[in-house]
Assembly symmetry: C2
Homo-oligomer: 344 residues x 2
DNA sequence: GTGAAAGCGCTAACAC
DNA sequence: GTGTTAGCGCTTTCAC
């Protein structure tokens, strides 16, 4: 049997409540008692029972992350691990534990989150992605739970969220290619039900429009966050009679797929095709050629999400803070886009 | 206020204990009562309070993962994310939640694990790495906690662990190069305090020895699990008067660093240098040339660790199961090692 | 098959 | 500044 607050109290010759007060650094406790009690705790190897504390305080000091049903199909592992690192780091700094949950379909996700939240095991949830018509968001929103979305919800513009300005980021990427003289620019998007895909598509189109450039439907391809998508998009583009001279890609991994395909067909990057992608994972500098990419501050996204969620948990009443946090992005130009189109 | 077991009991006209029995599918409960109570639970939106249950049952149905202090410095993110995916998948299947913890130094790690375990918040721990003289292992071992190590402990050979046969895996990789006619084979190791580094070094040396080949001290380089280490090792090797014609590398990411360096110096892989590394991350097939690598079944390591830990939690008494599980490895040969040394 | 009662380890009024 | 008391929501003997 573990040593409890009562055991400590008895040994110290004080009441359990005094011990409890020492534990929580209650102001009205004598330095003397506090010192003595702390000593005895140390001596007896006392450890507060977190569950018991939670039960009475009605707060768990933990938050939960929902992993998407099939992480490997949606995003690169790198993305999620970075996010998690950011979340966990900031959470521990604020004294919160992080629980990881996942479900193999949307129903399981809702059930899991419901069990954890309604069962009072966690105080809030971080959603790592934003998709259209997400029943998990509906559930969280309708039941007044604390949660923050990494990304953007179209349905609930007013919920707590941490996001990049993806429209602007994609605009920047496209603008970069335009400034190099490119006039035929393609776009490889992600799954259409993800908000991030839509935002980046919009930025791309806006940039073309503002520059007075043509946007052809056939220059836009949808796919997954997978190499295969890039590979397929590449072979589609390269067979076009009027093929693009450069592409903006939703994700580095997709760009790697394009790179591989181009390599097999003996095309040269950037001479035959310029590439700019998103996420700036470490391997972008290692590929041949190194890949231009938009750094979206993944760690920072996670870190901030953690921060915002815990803040909202701690003052559920006032909502003085920013509902929507934007993490800055930054275009990192590397060899894959260092080629100006010759004037004609 | 959330609806409790009492509320349900009152509404159903039964006692709280009956409701509790329905919840845990007690055998001696009438089908009729059970049906009725379940209906009312549904109606009232009842959710069992996990904390309260834990408090009395003295079991939390959750396990904890310790993230190494600086994941980014030690291993690739990919490795950890795969591990976590495996762990979380199997844990949820068995009805366990997974908590992620981390510390910025060994003391914080011990404190964190101690708080969680002694505070009765988790039932067991998975350690994601094995280093020499790890105080976390000491703590876990000395206090009789449930834990499993992914890797191997030199100090405690008898603890629960899930590992590859790293000696054999490294032997296989080296043998592969030998069979291609290589006689000067280098080895780029990881941090020397990690057991995995030692095991793989041993396999490499054994293979050389069994083949009657020379092993030179200068052909062995230690580093981190970072590209930079590979880069540095490469420039060291290539400046040797009697330089190796092939290298075994502790990790794919390190191999990428070598690849970049060779590229910059206009060396060709595999003609000038053959490479075989470990982990077989998805990008190994995308690099130029694609990288030969040992697939160590990362997901499987995590999955099995989860399984073994939960098993040990559930029957703390009997120890009929295997103390040490070995996950099979598999050499994937790609272009980076497809070059036989010309006979002389 | 079901109920009454005690108690898991802790906190928080309310006393003094 | 400290003790007393009640109770958080649940399980689990022990009755009947």
């Amino acid at each position: 049997m573990a040593v409890t607050i009562k055991d400590v109290a008895k040994r110290a010759g004080v009441s359990p409540s005094t011990v409890s007060r020492v534990l929580s650094n209650h102001p009205r406790i004598s330095t003397e008692t506090s010192r003595k009690v702390k000593l005895i705790m140390e001596e007896m190897g006392y450890h507060p029972n977190i569950m018991a504390k939670s039960l009475v305080s009605k707060t768990t000091n933990s938050i939960c992350i929902m992993l998407p049903k099939s992480a490997e199909e949606l995003f690169s592992n790198f993305f999620f691990m970075e996010l998690i690192r950011g979340i966990v780091t900031q959470a521990s700094r604020l004294g919160y534990d992080v629980l990881i949950s996942s479900g193999s379909n949307e129903k399981e996700e809702v059930d899991g989150v419901s069990r954890l939240l309604n069962g009072r095991r966690v105080d809030g949830v971080i959603l790592l992605y934003s998709r259209k018509d997400d029943p998990v968001i509906d559930f969280l929103h309708d039941n007044g739970h604390n949660f923050v979305l990494i990304g953007r919800s179209e349905q609930y513009p007013d919920i707590l969220s941490v996001d990049n300005n993806n429209v602007q980021a994609s605009y920047d990427a496209t603008k970069h290619l335009i400034s190099l003289g490119h006039e035929r620019i393609g776009f490889v998007s992600g799954p259409p039900h993800l908000v991030v895909s839509k935002d980046r598509l919009k930025g791309y189109l806006d940039a073309l429009h503002d520059a007075g450039l043509e946007s052809k439907q056939e220059w836009i391809v949808e796919g997954e966050f997978l190499q295969e998508s890039g590979y397929r998009a590449m072979s589609f583009f390269m067979n076009l009679p009027d093929r693009p001279t450069s592409i903006v890609l939703i994700d580095d991994v997709v760009a790697f797929g394009v790179l591989r395909g181009l390599n097999e067909l003996n095309y040269k990057v950037p001479e035959d095709l310029c590439l700019v992608s998103f996420n700036n994972i470490p391997l972008t500098e290692l590929s041949t050629p190194p890949l231009s990419s938009i750094d979206i501050g993944i760690y920072n996204l996670g870190y901030t999400a953690s921060q915002v969620l815990i803040q909202s948990i701690q003052n559920s009443n006032d909502a003085s803070y920013q509902k929507r946090q934007i993490i800055p992005h930054r275009l990192i130009v590397r060899d894959s886009s260092m080629y100006s189109v010759p004037k004609h």
